[in-house]
Symmetry: C2
Subunit: 555 residues, 2 copies
């Protein structure tokens, strides 16, 4: 039996469009001889449909479109059955009204095969908010094969794999395999990229193939959905745990693999971390803008490395002709802020480039506020005004010419609040908002390793500065980034608290200062541009902290 | 046995402070002869500690402070045991690492009495993200009485009360009462205000008293926590379901009631809806600002009814001396925009009042953008610039003089995106962000019914206008609010979809237009000031919609 894995990029809520993707994928797989097609978890409604799933009208829409898709598949000669992920009504009148299901469309029928058993309520996933858990894995009999069918995290709780605490206390795969077993294991999933996750995912699945001595077929979704980038890389393992085939990461694909295929195909080489991050960010940015109905971009170019990287991302995602750069120098801007941006634009091929000095607006605000501010000394207020003037101009350009503004903030800045709310935090999306400053440098150097001087060296080599007052440097108020970033990483991604950080060798004063800055910046983060998750834990839907709070060790 | 109900206002994360509140409450109850004290769900860490609960260091802090509190209670002569809500480690090495517990502090010991069984993952509550469910209610034996002890929603799933679908399929109270029963029922909870909820809460508890013929003691938290206002109103029912005592809503209280008390006290009269909303908003605004460490407020006064109501709220919450009003007229502002604001300030007692025309800044931006915008016609871009200039000035004042800006947007505007992102959406908090425009009018009329002309009639009587272009009226682009608000209510609070709304009699074109506006405004809402939940469902943590999406019926 040949199985077609449909790695699709659905749009949240766009049921008809998503059904069309599934239909096209099934046709493409049939052309390659597939006897059965499988498509990812929640492929019908999109992986981040969120509270749309609470609306009865939306659920009725899902049911309607699912039935139509079943009809359409039946009425096209030669198409195999399609097993896909979709929300389906819970027939029991208690508990949540939906199940997160694997549904088989065969002969015009819509058959629920499996209801997801292990429902995460963690990170960015709120399955418990929408779905009632199922009882066990399902089974699909086709062409004489008996396949165990699982959804998402149902395959992630094997106690022979995990050494430490497991998230759930049951293992539906073990129960199913213990009670009769199967010839193969299918998993429909929807996993968002986070550094290190694709490798772990591969080990989890490979181990199941080894443990149960069955081939494993996993279809993952692909595409950017608000702050998440589903990474694809759908995989097939043979019954000895060898990776037989892997679909590309970060793009749509239809891949057909035989149940008994043991010829290890020429392995697609693993990407470097930088390439992985780059592709994830480019896809996430492109999809966010496209799924919002946009196509053209505007970016403020400061001459610094953050805006340079975001400009490079935008050029890769939309083409240089769809990117406008605007330079907004002030009396505090270095000469390089304009000249370096001009050479950047030249290198990237951005032709639509404008310079709008902000001196006039600064003077207008100074004049307006002169009465109120009489007798006060300049402080961050005046710095914030500059940043906000820039935002007004960039947003005006975006509004007038129907473009989306990309925010250029990085994770280090966003963590410690080294940004101006309603100023440089503005934008439809912050593509590098989950990339530490030191990672920004790595990515730029990696770009330059492929194309020399793509990011001009002057930009990479200058000391980081917001240029909001004379001789301004980031290190005036922050530890150097090579000291700051490891601390941020250990606190934000590894959950080390104040004591643990000091025990790990970080300077006590620095720990206290940085943790306090992190807590105090919460009010900025809740109103800043959404970020694309790249590291283990991004600010966004996976970071749910109180704004008004007082926390021990971070006062 | 006399039970003291400690209705406290903890600060999320501030463990020592919260423990001090509990200690003081226990002392106050002891002075009134309490034999046992009870305090609300999660009173130790605050009801919205969120992802702080994922940090090991925070959990260690909880344990440490809980032990200290037990010691302190023991070492003070004459204090009764205290039963309080707190997170406690799950001893089982699978599942979530915490339970949401009722913990008894007695003789210096910390004893877990009950682990919350029914964990909601709905609305604004994410219990499933942090806690592993318990198995059953707990029992507390004290002074010869046997009390059933429950936490939060454990008492909300009685199948003889609810006619429709229940959220959970088990009922720990029924199971407990069926297996031996108790002399009384204790419930520790943490319920956030939403219109209609306090009355429902009272009926749910009263019914349990009737059904099981036992007195019911419910301690609820009070106080504003980011977007939620816990409403207090802790209650005691006798074994016949009569309300024996009810603590005040929206303020801290210690109330001592005897187990066998049947004398129905002079009932605290129910508040009118307007008074309830008013008190909830005032408390929520005061607590948000105070818990952020602030005390002084700045508001932009437009002469419109929204900013008038927010100013009145600020004056009530912080005193007129702590409120600054700034008027920011433009060439499009009516004369009334300044004169009406002046009479408002006079009426409210706001003395710190400033007028800063935005004409100079408008001209500066027009000049800066004249090259880029050459040949284009004025559109919403120019309107947004005005709104953003005002935000720059208001934020400059807030930054310079260490004040918090309150946003003045109402729910109707926020729903349909009738606002400027980074403009009038700016602020630390949007106090009336969950109040429909028609409710804004009701609240102002209610204020005036108590103090004639408190909100000047000129402000109430004028047609709503953003005054961003000549002769601008809200009805230029929106249906009149008395048509719009019922539609918004039925869609947002009652979950009616497009078809259901048309069936309910709404005009089809209006339904399509409004639903489309709602979906398209998601990008604004995710970056706007947090709102205080007042209606059944507010924009904020209880509204989790995709930004980049395409939804049937709202394209």
């Amino acid at each position: 039996m040949k199985i077609g894995l449909i790695q699709c990029n659905p749009v949240p809520g766009a049921l008809e469009y998503n059904a069309a993707l599934l239909y096209a994928g099934t046709c493409a797989a049939a052309a390659q001889g597939a006897d059965l097609c499988i498509a990812p978890e929640l492929a019908l409604c999109g992986p981040t449909a969120g509270d749309l799933l609470l609306q009865t009208s939306f659920m009725e829409g899902c049911r309607f479109v699912l039935n139509n898709l079943a009809d359409r598949l039946r009425s096209t000669p030669g198409l195999p059955p399609l097993l896909l992920g979709a929300p389906v009504y819970n027939p029991v009148p208690q508990g949540k009204p939906l199940h997160n299901c694997a549904v088989l469309l065969r002969d015009g029928q819509v058959i629920v095969i499996s209801r997801k058993v292990l429902l995460p309520a963690a990170g960015t996933v709120d399955d418990r908010r929408y779905f009632e858990p199922g009882i066990s894995c399902g089974v699909l009999q086709h062409k004489g094969w008996r396949m165990a069918v699982t959804v998402g995290e149902d395959v992630w709780n094997d106690r022979t794999f995990w050494q430490d605490r497991r998230t759930f206390d049951s293992d539906p795969v073990a129960e199913f395999m213990g009670a009769g077993g199967a010839d193969g294991l299918i998993n429909l999933t929807s996993l968002a990229y986070a550094q290190g996750l694709p490798g772990l995912h591969q080990r989890v699945l490979g181990w199941l193939a080894i443990r149960y001595r069955v081939p494993v077929f996993c279809a993952n979704i692909v595409g950017g959905n608000d702050g998440l980038v589903m990474y694809g890389s759908s995989m097939v393992f043979d019954g000895e745990g060898a990776l037989v085939a892997r679909a590309p990461a970060f793009r749509e694909s239809v891949m057909v693999v035989d149940m008994v295929d043991k010829t290890k195909r020429k392995a697609r080489p693993d990407m470097s971390l930088e390439e992985e991050l780059w592709q994830a960010i480019v896809l996430g940015t492109r999809d966010f803008v496209n799924k919002c109905g946009g196509r053209k971009i505007v970016i403020g170019l400061s001459g610094g490395i953050d805006s340079a990287l975001v400009a490079a991302i935008a050029v890769e995602a939309f083409g240089a002709d769809n990117v406008t750069g605007i330079m907004l120098p002030s009396r505090f801007s270095s000469k390089g802020s304009v000249t370096d941006s001009v050479s950047l634009a030249k290198s990237l091929g951005i032709k639509d480039l404008h310079t709008i000095p902000i001196e006039g607006a600064m003077q207008a605000f100074e004049y307006s506020l002169s009465g109120l501010f009489q007798g006060t000394a300049p402080d961050t207020t005046e710095e914030n005004i500059q940043s906000r003037i820039r935002a007004v101009i960039l947003m005006a350009f975006a509004n007038k010419f129907n473009r989306l503004l990309l925010a250029t903030g990085n994770k280090s800045e966003i963590a410690v609040g080294y940004s101006t709310l309603y100023g440089d935090s503005c934008g439809a999306l912050a593509p590098i908002g989950d990339i530490y400053k030191t990672q920004v440098y790595s990515l730029c150097r990696w770009l330059n390793s492929k194309r020399p001087d793509y990011i001009p060296l002057a930009i990479i080599d200058k000391a980081p500065s917001a240029e909001l007052r004379p001789e301004h440097k980031d290190t005036d108020s922050l530890p150097p980034y090579d000291k700051l970033d490891p601390l941020l990483h250990d606190h934000l991604e590894m959950d080390l608290g104040p004591d643990a950080l000091v025990n790990a060798g970080y300077d006590k004063d620095m720990v206290e200062k940085v943790l306090s800055l992190i807590r105090k910046a919460e009010f900025k983060r809740v109103q800043s541009a959404p970020v694309l998750q790249m590291n283990r834990r991004s600010f966004g839907t996976g970071w749910r902290m109180p704004i008004a709070s007082r926390v021990p060790g971070a006062e």
